[in-house]
Symmetry: C2
DNA sequence: ATCTCACCTGGAGCGGACTCCAGGTCAAGC
DNA sequence: GCTTGACCTGGAGTCCGCTCCAGGTGAGAT
C-alpha cells in the first residue's frame, strides 16, 4: 500500500481541528513543518495525523499550549527524552484525575440544587 | 446572633475569587449590588456568599458568563422562574456529565501513551 | 479553455474572562 | 494623631487561543 497522505480537508475531517487551527499549530511549532506538494499545498502524513490526535487529547484535557509545545520539543528531540515525556504525561494525568473529581463534586452540588428547587415547587 | 456580614477580604478567603473578580461580577450584574458601609466599602451578606458559591460551581464546570447571567436574572425574577432554573441546571448537568466522560476517555488515551513509552524504554 | 473552489501567506482582529492601574478615601492599630 | 493598609472607582490592558481577511495561486471537473 502507498504511503497515505491527507489533504487539509481530510485532516480537518479526521481531527476536528479547523484549517486555521492546523495552520496556527504549524506556525507556532506545535506541528512540525508539514510537507507541501508542488503547488505549496499541505499534504499531511499519517504521522502528522497521529500527532494531531495526541494534541487533541492534550488540548481537550486542558493542557495549555506552552506545555504542549514543550512536549512537542521533547518528542522531536529523540528517544532519550522518553522519561521526561512520561513525567510530563503523568503529571498531566494527575491533573486530569483532579479535574474529573472536581467535576463530579460540582455535579453533586448542581444536582442538589435541582433537588432543592424541585422540593419547593 | 447578629446578621453576619463579610468584608471583601473575607469573601476572597471564603470563595476563592479575587477581589477584582468580585468587583467585576458585580459590575456586570452577576452579583447584585452589594451593600456598602458608610465609607462605601463592600459588606457582603451571607446570601451574597452563598450565591458566590453557586457561581463558583457553575464557573468551575465551564458555564460561560452569559449563561450565568441568565441564571442570575431568573433567580432575581422570583420563584415563578424555578422551573426555568431547573431546566437550565439540568441542561448544564448533562454537559458536565459529558465533560466527565470525555475526560475519562482522554485519560485512558494518556495512560495508554504512558504505557507505550514505558514499553519502549 | 474555463470556472470554481480548495489552498496559500502574513498579519490583523476577536471573544472571553479577567487583571491591573492611577488616583483617591476611610479604618483602625500603635 | 499618624501611618499603614484595605478599599474605592472608572477605565485601560492582558492573555489565550484561535479566527478572519485580503489578495493571490493552482487543481481538477466540465
Amino acid at each position: 500500500m502507498p504511503v497515505s497522505v491527507y489533504t487539509p480537508a481530510e485532516v480537518v475531517e479526521e481531527t476536528g481541528f479547523t484549517l486555521d487551527t492546523l495552520r496556527y499549530y504549524e506556525k507556532i511549532g506545535l506541528l512540525e513543518r508539514v510537507e507541501r506538494n508542488a503547488a505549496g499545498q499541505r499534504r499531511f502524513s499519517e504521522q502528522d495525523v497521529g500527532w494531531l490526535g495526541m494534541l487533541r487529547c492534550l488540548r481537550d484535557t486542558g493542557m495549555p499550549i506552552a506545555q504542549m509545545l514543550r512536549f512537542a520539543e521533547l518528542t522531536r528531540a529523540g528517544d532519550h527524552t522518553i522519561p521526561d515525556r512520561i513525567k510530563l504525561l503523568e503529571e498531566h494525568d494527575r491533573l486530569v484525575e483532579g479535574q474529573i473529581e472536581n467535576l463530579m463534586e460540582r455535579r453533586r452540588y448542581i444536582r442538589n440544587k435541582i433537588s432543592y428547587y424541585r422540593s419547593v415547587l
